[in-house]
């Protein structure tokens, strides 16, 4: 979009800054590879939960905190104890137990008459399916139960409620990527515009604008969030407001600082002498020259925003269960460090890969947009 717009301004002769930038970005192998990684993660987040065999909110009560594994659950040694447990719940005594491949056959007795509906107990367990009660004795106090073992895979393990971590990690990406990227873009846009304006105009205006930043920065953020929750309830937009309200402040300061030096550069003064409007100078000369630090700061901002979101969830403003985000999953995982490390590892891998990719793209962008590097 910007590319065509700039093309119109600059007459046909030569290549525009944006054309150059694009070519150079595409020539940067690390950046290109990172774009693919980022795209892949985005695709997994969007389509993964749909393709996954598990729902992100299904609770498997028999599989609480099972470790990540490529093998299917239940493990062979888990089947019999589980069968005994279910039988006990159904008030049955298991007389003989036999396992034939994926089928379990057992003869059971009870002190009372056995209800044919007893099979429900086995179907309700996450380990068995297609249970049948047959061969009733005359007094109906003994029978044979036949059930198939229900195999499931939990490649990333399960969480404290027995929910599939893989599907949850995928779906968490939707929230985290959205808020991470969108809120960052919003924060950067406001911060860059505000900072560049303040620095360029200088003097009293600069002082006033920067004092506003100081004030906003010093206000107690937690109360601001609690107030939002109490008066407006919980919703996604508010989360952006809360994040946006704080995260642009640092950006504004950094850009303003850069602007102070840039505006004394020869080319800016030349443009001023030629009578270019203030707005034009800020847009064409100041902002492009601040992009280096902006891009670097962005790479810091994305993880900050993603983790801030999990803090907002703590105060009740973030996303709500059963939906989740990487920040929430990782802080849960960190508490399970000893004992259930998979709850930390997999969401962390996704977050870290995303941030790495963003860093390399950021570096590539910076190098590509560097006006002196042509």
């Amino acid at each position: 979009m910007t590319i065509t717009a700039t093309n119109n301004e600059v007459p046909a002769k030569g290549r525009s800054l944006w054309d150059d930038a694009r070519d150079r970005l595409l020539a940067n192998r690390a950046a290109v590879a990172s774009m693919f990684v980022l795209a892949a993660i985005a695709l997994i987040s969007v389509f993964g939960p749909i393709l996954s065999p598990h729902q992100f909110d299904t609770v498997y009560r028999d599989y609480v905190k099972v470790p990540a594994s490529l093998e299917a659950y239940p493990r062979p040694e888990q089947v019999e104890p589980a069968f005994q447990r279910v039988a006990k719940r159904a008030r049955l005594t298991v007389d003989s137990y036999e396992r034939d491949g994926d089928t379990v056959v057992a003869s059971v007795t009870s002190s009372r008459e056995i209800d044919p509906r007893t099979s429900r107990y086995f179907d309700r367990s996450d380990l068995f399916k297609d249970a049948q009660v047959t061969d009733f004795s005359d007094d109906n106090k003994s029978a044979t139960i036949r059930a198939n073992v229900n195999y499931m895979h939990f490649y990333f393990g399960t969480d404290a409620n027995g929910r599939d971590m893989m599907t949850r990690t995928f779906i968490a990406g939707r929230v985290s990527l959205t808020i991470g990227l969108l809120a960052t873009v919003v924060a950067i846009s406001i911060g860059v515009l505000y900072g560049a304006t303040s620095g360029y105009l200088g003097g009293r205006v600069d002082q006033m604008m920067m004092r506003v930043v100081d004030i906003l920065y010093s206000l107690p953020f937690i109360f601001f969030v609690i107030m939002l929750v109490v008066f407006f309830g919980r919703n996604f937009i508010l989360m952006f407001i809360a994040v946006g309200a704080v995260e642009w402040l640092d950006m504004a300061r950094i850009v303003r600082g850069q602007t102070l030096t840039i505006k004394r550069q020869e080319y800016v003064q030349a443009a001023e002498a030629m009578g270019v409007e203030d707005g034009g100078i800020v847009r064409r000369h100041i902002i492009p020259n601040t992009l280096g630090p902006v891009v670097v700061y962005m790479t810091l901002l994305v993880p900050k925003v993603i983790l801030l979101e999990s803090f907002l969830s703590f105060l009740g403003l973030g996303i709500q269960e059963p939906m989740t985000s990487w920040g929430v999953l990782i802080s849960e995982g960190a508490r399970n460090l000893q004992g259930a490390a998979w709850m930390l590892i997999f969401p962390s891998i996704f977050l870290t890969s995303t941030l790495f990719a963003l860093n390399f793209i950021g570096d590539g962008l910076r190098d590509a947009l560097d006006p002196k590097d042509r």
Partner: protein, 307 residues
């Protein structure tokens, strides 16, 4: 210049006043008061408590009372830590947080600076990528993950360093918190330095200096770095203010009695005076550091002038 500094310091007063005023009323909007417990209090007991802390007076009066007391630098009694005044709490915790923050800041500057310069000198070569990737790792893993992992490995498994506690700021107790606190900053400083160093190395005065035949090492250090450090400085303003006022995550995980925890404790306990105290402290740091940064600008780059 003196006039400028004086003007800035004077302008801090209305800024602080606005911050205090807005915060004072903002925190009173939140539900729950300092004396609400999971177990509700008898109405009469609550009334007695409110009376002791002047919470029964009209909000407006409380505000004036508060202004009067902070004008005398008295931040009042804490509502949660009832055996202490805010001044006592801060006198004890602020130096600790500052010591931690300053150490982390220095570490980040030195390590980040060295990494950034070395990477810039080898732009787009494998060494550049390796350094940057390593630095990036520091910023991608949140500190509430890094801290437990480091303590688990170095403290619990290997037993080399204490897992927690401040112990009067003993060196062994400080290592892990400082490193954890510095890690993300190292990454940012390294990246900022690398970026602006690359720019600076190409600028005219560095080229001129090189043409005069100074050894390239000197060129790098003296000329390029001076220009390159500006973005780092503008980043450091807010970063330093944040670092020196403590980190709730680091302090909680390592059991350090710094000021950072008071931000969250104060808010969650609705300890109004404590929250107001932290607000004022942050505001002072922010104002002070922004002034310092602006002065540093003028010092490092003669082109910057404040009219």
């Amino acid at each position: 210049m003196h006039r400028y500094v004086l003007g800035r310091l004077l302008s801090a007063i209305p800024t602080l006043f606005l911050i205090v005023t807005i915060s004072f009323f903002l925190i009173r909007i939140a539900p729950g008061g300092p004396f609400d417990l999971e177990r509700p209090l008898e109405a009469k007991v609550m009334e007695n408590l409110n009376k002791i802390y002047h919470l029964d007076e009209p909000l407006w009066n409380q505000y004036l009372l508060y202004l009067k007391s902070i004008a005398q630098l008295d931040f009042g009694p804490s509502f949660y830590f009832r055996d202490f005044t805010i001044n006592e709490l801060f006198a004890q915790s602020l130096p600790i947080s500052m010591q931690l923050g300053l150490s982390a800041l220095c570490l980040a500057l030195v390590v980040g600076g060295v990494l950034g310069v070395s990477a810039a000198l080898r732009q787009n070569r494998p060494a550049d990528y390796t350094i940057m990737a390593a630095a990036t790792l520091g910023v991608t893993i949140p500190n509430f993950v890094v801290a437990p992992i480091l303590t688990l490995i170095l403290g619990v498994w290997l037993g080399w360093l204490p897992v927690g506690g401040w112990n009067g700021g003993a060196f062994v107790n400080v290592i892990l918190p400082v490193v954890t606190l510095a890690l993300p900053q190292v990454a940012v400083v390294a990246r900022l330095t690398r970026g602006s160093m690359i720019e600076a190395l190409r600028s005219n005065h560095v080229r001129t200096a090189r043409a005069y035949g100074l050894t390239s090492y000197m060129v790098v250090v003296v000329h390029a770095l001076r220009g390159a450090i500006l973005p780092v400085v503008s980043y450091l303003g807010p970063a330093a203010a944040a670092l020196l006022t403590g980190s709730v995550v680091i302090e909680t995980i390592f059991g350090i009695p710094g000021i950072g925890r008071y931000f969250v404790q104060g808010a969650l306990n609705r300890d109004y005076t404590l929250v107001m105290g932290t607000v004022v402290v942050v505001a002072c740091f922010v104002i002070l550091f922004n002034l310092l940064v602006d002065l540093l600008y003028a010092l490092l780059d003669p082109r910057v002038r404040y009219d």
